[in-house]
Amino acid sequence: MWLYEKKLQYPVRVSVCNPRLAKFLIEQYGGADGELSAALRYLNQRYTIPDKVIGLLTDIGTEEFAHLEMIATMVYKLTKDATPEEMKQAGLGDHYANHDGALFYHDAAGNNWTASYIQAKGDPIADLYEDIAAEEKARATYQWLINMSDDPFLNESLSFLREREIVHSQRFREAVELIKDSNTGKKIF
């Protein structure tokens, strides 16, 4: 089972009410390479991955939910108290018509989240290579978001999340080495 803890992984701060940025950030909420995809991908693949890397998939998958909550917090703060007119001006009129100020799992272009964003092939190498690619794609998305954001506080949170993709990618790369060869786990690739 899982436990909920009443705290964010990182202290998210946002400088100004800016619904337009929220429209872009939602990419990492319900987009193909977003945090929801990541969490569901790893926590689903773990049932059939070799035992020695189940712990890693469980832990990274769990951390992804903490990142999902960070993105939600950013979107929530950026749009909180925005008027319908401000939402419209921010390009969020389509979102507002369906959801008011509620969050929803779609990407920046409004496409609803779908399970076809993720895969569980049952082949450990195929799955771990997908996971590495997913981390690199998420890292790239954070870079493009940082390029578009001029909110210094928000960029601190986005930089934190981008760095987490680097660390996760590193661990998945190590996981590949662990299952490639079953001995000590100390090897150079």
Binding site: L3, Y4, E5, K6, K7, L8, Q9, Y10, P11, V12, V53, G55, L56, D59, I60, E63, E69, A72, T73, Y76, K77, V167, H168, R171, E174, A175, L178, T184, G185
Partner: protein, 88 residues
Amino acid sequence: MANKPLPDDYYQRLEEIQKIDFTLVELNLYLDTHPQDLEAIKQYNTFTKKAKELRQMFEERYGPMIHFGHSYSTHPWAWIESPWPWQV
């Protein structure tokens, strides 16, 4: 507590927990692929103790952080009280 601003002390204590907990996340992921690293395990156990202490002090002031029997409650039931993490 709905509309009472939180004191600086809340944010400071919370951030102290976030620092230690983050170090624990990092050591945990590292140990998932380096299960034999004794020094890292010792460090993990030391930080775990520290995290428990900080969490206990925070909870005495600001209420339970974890549900389902992992934190004690005052009366009335404290878990449902605002603020939630995305609100602060």
